[in-house]
């Protein structure tokens, strides 16, 4: 994948570029807003990661300009401004996702994956999801593992559906709150963990191979590995 990173903090940028290159992405990086816009407008990227506060030109103006030219490349905004208002402003301005600093690299990767996959999966209408011996029928809303039916609450169903749609990808707690519960807020306790552990007890407990795993310092992953 070709990734453009516009980020003025050298350390954060170096860390980002290194991390992305380790994941086999081709990365272009610039510290300056104007150079960033030039690259964004002239080159073809699969995803752009743009900081909001930049020298030369601010990130939001870059995004608006890029969008105005009809460029639909997924854009992930990376910013220290993390208020709901700021996020709304960023997303309305043309960003596809918003990540607040400090961010965990795993979360960044997870969000990038989600953005890239969204572009491709939206085209095809899926009616069922599968992972190992776990099956989910989206029409009849029936979940089975190893042919055995599993009873899920509506919210548990949505939680599992999101995890299955992002199977083999790390999913963070914030992503789950935003996508499954649809609220932007800061839970004071590990309330998401409780829901995950309930889901885990339903889908994994009686089976040999656990599918839902915790990724330390990041979130969860639904994986058959």
């Amino acid at each position: 994948m070709r990734v453009l990173v516009i980020e003025d903090d050298k350390d954060v940028a170096a860390y980002l570029v290194k991390g992305l290159q380790e994941c086999d992405h081709v990365v272009d990086h610039t510290l300056d807003g104007k150079d960033g816009l030039l690259l964004a407008a002239s080159e073809q990227y699969d995803i752009m990661i743009i900081d909001r506060m930049l020298p030369g030109m601010d990130g939001l103006s870059i995004i608006k300009t890029v969008r105005a030219t009809g460029n639909r490349t997924p854009i992930l905004i990376l910013s220290a401004l993390g208020d709901v208002d700021d996020r709304v402003e960023g997303l309305r301005g043309g960003g596809d996702d918003y990540l607040t600093k400090p961010f965990s690299f795993t979360e960044l990767l997870a969000r990038m994956d989600a953005l890239l996959r969204r572009g491709s999966s939206q085209a095809e209408q899926v009616t069922s999801l599968n992972l190992a011996d776990l099956e989910m029928d989206l029409l009849s809303r029936v979940v089975k593992r190893g042919g055995q039916k599993i009873d899920l609450q509506p919210r548990e169903f949505r939680l599992l559906e999101y995890l299955m749609r992002h199977a083999e990808q790390v999913v963070t707690r914030t992503m789950l709150l935003e996508q499954v519960w649809d609220y932007h807020f800061d839970p004071q306790t590990n309330v998401i963990d409780v829901h995950i552990s309930r889901l885990r007890s339903k889908i994994d407990k009686e089976f040999d191979k656990p599918l839902l795993q915790t990724v330390r310092g990041a979130g969860y992953i639904l994986s058959e590995k």
């Binding site: 860390y15 220290a80 993390g82 208020d83 400090p102 519960w181 309930r198």
Partner: protein
């Protein structure tokens, strides 16, 4: 004016007295006759009488009724009988008793004077009346326009207090006291806005300048976590990551409260189904309560709506429910209620937990304040500060009461206006 008349009379008397001392009674008589003859219709009155009021000289025929022959001043009516034309002629005179019962009256017809005096009095009265009437009308008009302008200032300042800081008080361009007041208030507002922008700017900069190094710190810990081989190291590093996250969430909460408090009003109010919001919050936290064997009872009226910020109100509900679960021991009870009444919307979270001592009820809304009994439990002491900031911004009220045992938190929100 009466003084002037008296002076004229005195002067004439002085003149006559001179004649009298020089030429005696006959001299006086001839002088009086001469004076009368010289000015028959004059304003001067003379009457010189012998004993028994027999006229010796003068232009009055009779001694006035009211006057005795005695030294002193007298006022009397001049009527036609006295040989004068016109009615109500008033005269003032001085009477002398000259030697041996002879009487001398020297006076002046003050009728014209009285007329003038009356005219002046009437003019003064009318003048006063008109002036008073004009003053009254003017006063009413002035006070009306004053009241109107004060009302304008009041209305606008209320709107400004409601958070519309861009409003300014209009002047009329007359440069009067009100314009100056408006100008001063506007300048004060400009200054406040400037200061608030400054604070906002500073907090943005803090956010940027502090979060960036924290990002680096977290990043480094994260790479260390990935490359760490020993399970022991991984354990330690992930604890450090969790600590950094906690630090950041405290810091973010502080910034958020500061933003909410300086913002003053809901940025983008939307119509909300509070019943749905509360059900979602309950659903999210129910699992947590079940893990602590707590029973959660609910009485949520359906279709309760208000105007506000969805995420912030959800934060309020989840903070309150989270507190109730956290501060209630295993097996405790938590009850939730949402009702709509005439006064507005009210939601309550009651628990059977450790409660808050009476004298600490106000303090728990302060940043970082934690009730002594709760210090051993996790938390940063910012949850209720955030709740208060959000409620204030929605023009609501929050009240803490004893549930014996436990705590009952009631939040009232206005029906659907902001």
């Amino acid at each position: 004016m009466a003084d002037q008349t008296d002076e004229t009379i005195e002067a004439e008397i002085v003149g006559l007295a001179e004649q009298y001392s020089r030429q005696g009674v006959n001299g006086l008589i001839s002088v009086i006759r001469e004076r009368v003859a010289r000015d028959p219709n004059g304003k001067s009155l003379y009457l010189f009488t012998a004993r028994d009021y027999i006229k010796l000289a003068g232009n009055l025929d009779e001694w006035p009724d009211s006057a005795q022959v005695q030294d002193g001043w007298v006022n009397f009516q001049l009527d036609e009988q006295v040989g004068w034309e016109g009615n109500d002629h008033v005269a003032r005179a001085r009477i002398f008793v000259v030697q041996g019962g002879l009487g001398l009256l020297v006076g002046r017809d003050v009728h014209d004077l009285m007329v003038v005096k009356r005219l002046i009095e009437r003019a003064i009265n009318w003048g006063m009346g008109i002036t008073l009437a004009l003053a009254l009308i003017g006063g009413i008009m002035m006070s009306r326009s004053t009241a109107k302008r004060i009302e304008v200032i009041n209305q606008i300042s209320r709107k400004i207090m409601d958070g519309n800081l861009a409003l300014r008080i209009p002047g009329r361009g007359t440069g009067d006291d009100f314009d100056q007041l408006a100008e001063n208030l506007n300048q004060m507002l400009d200054r406040i806005v400037q200061l608030m922008d400054g604070i906002r700017h500073v907090s943005d900069n803090i956010a940027h300048d502090l979060r960036t190094p924290l990002t680096r710190l977290r990043n480094q810990l994260e790479s260390a976590l990935i490359s760490a081989e020993k399970e022991e190291d991984r354990e330690q590093i992930s604890t450090a990551v969790a600590e950094a996250d906690k630090l950041l969430s405290t810091f973010n909460a502080l910034l958020r409260i500061a933003r909410l408090e300086t913002g003053g009003k809901v940025a983008k109010p939307e119509a909300l189904d509070l019943s749905q919001l509360m059900c979602d919050a309950v659903e999210l936290y129910e699992a947590l309560a079940e893990d602590k064997n707590q029973t959660m009872t609910m009485n949520i009226q359906s279709g309760v709506t208000t105007l506000g910020d969805k995420d912030l109100l959800f934060q309020v509900m989840s903070n309150l429910i989270d507190n109730a679960i956290k501060y209630t021991p295993e097996g405790g009870k938590i009850s939730l209620q949402l009702i709509e009444s005439e006064e507005g919307v009210c939601f309550e979270v009651a628990d059977s937990g450790i409660g808050i001592p009476e004298d600490e009820k106000d303090k728990v809304f302060q940043r970082f304040y934690r009730v002594a009994k709760s210090r051993s439990l996790p938390g940063n002491g910012l949850g209720l500060s955030l709740v208060l900031a959000v409620i204030a911004m929605h023009k609501g009220e929050i009240n803490l009461a004893n549930a014996n045992p436990g705590l009952k938190v009631s939040v009232k929100l206005p029906k659907s206006e902001l």
